[in-house]
């Protein structure tokens, strides 16, 4: 049982070939590109969703921040679709790997910070000291603000990894418990099964919410720095 529990998080290889690249690129097939003015149902639905999300997400930015629209939209689509595909049985979710989430979080966060330092150097440095702090506290507060700045990409990556991994692990465990209990007490197994159904509904929500939170935080860091 111990080996099985974490086996689904191992990097998938088939006969020695790393097919994880194929699995990471798979969601791109599900988003065809629109060619015409009036497209088929799938593309029209996706266009409507993307327009809804982008209007809501880019409303707080000024002109400079809105140049990041493509990046933020593709980010939320990628994380959302990858998380949702991970809820299919037996599938591998790339966002459970800390390496991939760090690879997404660190460049995006660094991009926002460097943009801030390049264009509004004084304002970016001013972020390190909140307004109205007493003079003796200033050195300590600058250190704390620096630490909190550098923790932002780590928090982004670890938040996504931990949420998705924990959800998948819980589903494995509760599903295994349901199976094991079925032969002993059917009624308790039924309760566990209802818990599993509720957990699955939660996981669908978490998949989308995590994508949203990731993108929202990146956009907030961007807003601070443009």
């Amino acid at each position: 049982m111990n080996e099985n529990l974490f086996a689904s998080f191992a990097t998938p290889t088939m006969m020695g070939l790393p097919i994880v690249i194929l699995i990471v690129m798979f969601p791109s097939i599900l988003f065809p590109s629109p060619n015409r003015l009036i497209n088929n149902r799938l593309i029209s639905l996706q266009q409507w969703l993307v327009q809804l999300t982008s209007k809501q997400m880019l409303a707080i930015h000024n002109h400079k921040g809105q140049t990041w629209a493509l990046m933020l939209m593709s980010l939320i689509l990628f994380i959302g679709s990858t998380n949702l595909l991970g809820l299919l049985p037996h599938s591998f979710t790339p966002t459970t790997q800390l390496s991939m989430n760090l690879g997404m979080a660190i460049p995006l966060w660094a991009g926002t910070v460097i943009t801030g330092f390049r264009h509004k150097t004084k304002a970016s440095l001013a972020h390190f000291l909140p307004q109205g702090t007493p003079i003796p506290l200033i050195p300590m507060l600058v250190i704390i603000e620096t630490i909190s700045l550098f923790i932002q990409p780590m928090a982004l990556a670890v938040r996504l990894t931990a949420n998705i991994t924990a959800g998948h692990l819980l589903m494995h465990l509760i599903g295994g418990a349901t199976l094991a209990l079925m032969n002993i007490t059917t009624s308790v197994a039924l309760i566990t099964f209802i818990i599993l159904i509720l957990l699955t509904i939660l996981e669908f929500a978490v998949a989308l919410i995590q994508a949203y939170v990731f993108t929202l935080l990146v956009s907030l860091y961007l807003h601070d720095n443009t």
């Binding site: 099985n4 097939i29 799938l42 299919l88 037996h90 599938s91």
Partner: protein
């Protein structure tokens, strides 16, 4: 009026006779460009038949997801073999 016989290389799969099948397979284009072309043709054949229609339904995308689940099942079969309800594994 007699129609000229089509050479084996250019026949479609359904027109190839059973005896000519090994020869037909060997004459296919197995270069990377040929394989990429085959994937592209296959993708557009599926897309134009099931998704790119005026009233596409959920079946178009759910067949893709079902194939994805099957692919992942085949990938994990070695570990899943041990979880079957059998006396001897």
């Amino acid at each position: 009026m007699c129609v000229l016989p089509i050479p084996v290389k250019e026949k479609k799969l359904m027109d190839v006779k059973l005896g000519e099948l090994p020869g037909w397979i060997l004459m296919r284009d197995f270069t990377p460009r040929g394989i990429a072309g085959a994937f592209q043709r296959g993708y557009y054949r599926y897309y134009n038949k099931y998704v790119n229609v005026k009233k596409g339904s959920v079946a178009g995308i759910s067949m893709v997801l079902a194939a994805y689940v099957l692919f992942n099942y085949c990938r994990c079969y070695k570990e899943l073999k041990h979880e079957r309800l059998r006396k001897y594994h």
